[in-house]
């Protein structure tokens, strides 16, 4: 079991960037008005931010990173590692982290690498960058996490289109002697890899003319094999089965109880999942922030985005203890406990496509 603790790490700041374009699910005319109302009430997504064509995850991560570096007053030449976590990269090849290293003006001595994880990506990403800093003897790192899943969802698929929103985030991490230990519990089950999948266009199933054909899967669901497929019930049951035991194992491993946790920040999967998990853990609503009503499910970005959007004011100047729990595509899931000691959190940034010169 991947249960481990990282020492001497401080999360110095988190920034989040979302597209300026907002869509309201009440305007989603593919389904009836009654269905739209039920969707907003149960799944919880009222509004979403979606990118304009041509904007990528890395564009938003870059803006978030620049803002964060500025507010932290970090010297870019001191950043020794950049980890980019996303399933929506700029290109098939090369890796996006190298593009970001260049665009952000980071030194050539900075390690840059991509991690292709989705919903679980923030928690996994924290563990990887924390592990690299510690074991390689580095001082400062940038974790850039985000997705633009809206582009992968078919408009005529009511199970995905109204769910996903886009966002890019940046988290600054540095070595700080004496910082509180950060425990992790990471798990996975690849036998469930088909629960959330884009079947064609990779190397297993090459892109072909047939990949583009729309098929009616069930009422209200028409999509091609280049669109994201989501087995809602399967993912729902997986979440209800695995997330709470994962958290409980982490707590007992770290000799911790939920009473000592100020906030639990879940991946914003959908409101019904998150509310059910909250009830299973028997925690109060005030302890579990939700941002899904404003931004939808933003995949890997949902945890940092929720911290910036919902907790910024609450944790300002405090040393709050946050339990983060992420779960989804892979299947892959994990949890961790972080401290917000003096964390720098700029206001949410809205991304507007730069006009062509």
């Amino acid at each position: 079991m991947a249960l481990f603790t990282l020492q001497n790490l401080q999360l110095s700041g988190i920034a989040a960037c979302v597209p300026s374009k907002e869509v309201n699910n009440m305007d989603y005319k593919w389904i009836s008005l009654k269905e739209r109302e039920q969707l907003i009430k149960t799944i919880g997504v009222e509004k979403r931010r979606v990118v304009e064509k041509g904007t990528t995850t890395s564009d938003m991560c870059q803006v978030a990173a620049d803002k964060l570096i500025e507010e932290l007053n970090w010297d870019k030449s001191e950043i020794e590692v950049l980890v980019f976590v996303s399933q929506t990269r700029d290109y098939y090849i090369p890796q996006t982290s190298s593009i970001l290293q260049d665009k952000l003006g980071l030194p050539q001595s900075c390690i840059a690498l991509d991690i292709a994880l989705g919903c679980s990506g923030y928690v996994y990403g924290l563990s990887v960058i924390g592990g690299l800093l510690n074991s390689f003897g580095l001082k400062k790192g940038l974790l850039l996490v985000g997705d633009i899943s809206s582009l992968n969802a078919a408009y005529r698929d009511k199970s995905t289109h109204p769910l996903f929103g886009d966002a890019g985030t940046a988290t600054a991490i540095e070595i700080k002697d004496g910082a509180k230990p950060i425990p992790f519990n990471l798990q996975g089950d690849g036998s469930g890899h088909k629960a959330i999948i884009i079947p064609d266009g990779g190397l297993r199933n090459f892109l072909s003319k047939k990949s583009l054909d729309y098929k009616t899967v069930s009422p209200g669901i028409q999509r091609s094999k280049l669109h994201i497929h989501l087995d809602g019930i399967e993912v729902f049951n997986f979440s209800l089965r695995e997330v709470v035991p994962n958290i409980k194992t982490l707590l007992s491993y770290h000799n911790e109880t939920l009473d000592n946790i100020d906030h639990i920040v879940f991946h914003q999967a959908n409101k019904l999942i998150n509310e059910t998990l909250r009830k299973m853990l028997r925690v109060d609503k005030s302890k579990m922030p939700l941002s899904i009503q404003k931004f939808g499910n933003t995949s890997s970005a949902s945890i940092p985005l929720t911290i910036v959007s919902e907790l910024k004011e609450t944790i300002k100047g405090k040393d709050s203890r946050l339990l983060l729990s992420a779960f989804g595509i892979g299947l892959s899931w994990g949890s961790t406990i972080i401290q917000t000691n003096n964390m720098v959190i700029p206001d949410i940034i809205e991304y507007t496509k730069p006009s062509k010169r």
Binding site: Q38, G232, L240, L272, E275
Partner: protein, 78 residues
Amino acid sequence: MNTIEDFILKIESEFDELEPGKLKPESSFREMFDWNSINALVLIAMVKTEYDVVINADDLTKAKTVNDVFKIITSRIK
């Protein structure tokens, strides 16, 4: 209290559009209200929180009546 009556009360409190008293053990839950995948998720969530039992897509396909679902739940209660 694991009775079918109690189960029906729990369903009624989850689904606003259900008229109280209309749902019977022999009712086909698909016909009782506009059955869709979101309603399926709401039912699964309720069963998990109230009974700590997981019902899956297969169960919901096989079960015809409210009583069928209830039987699946009671057979899985630890």
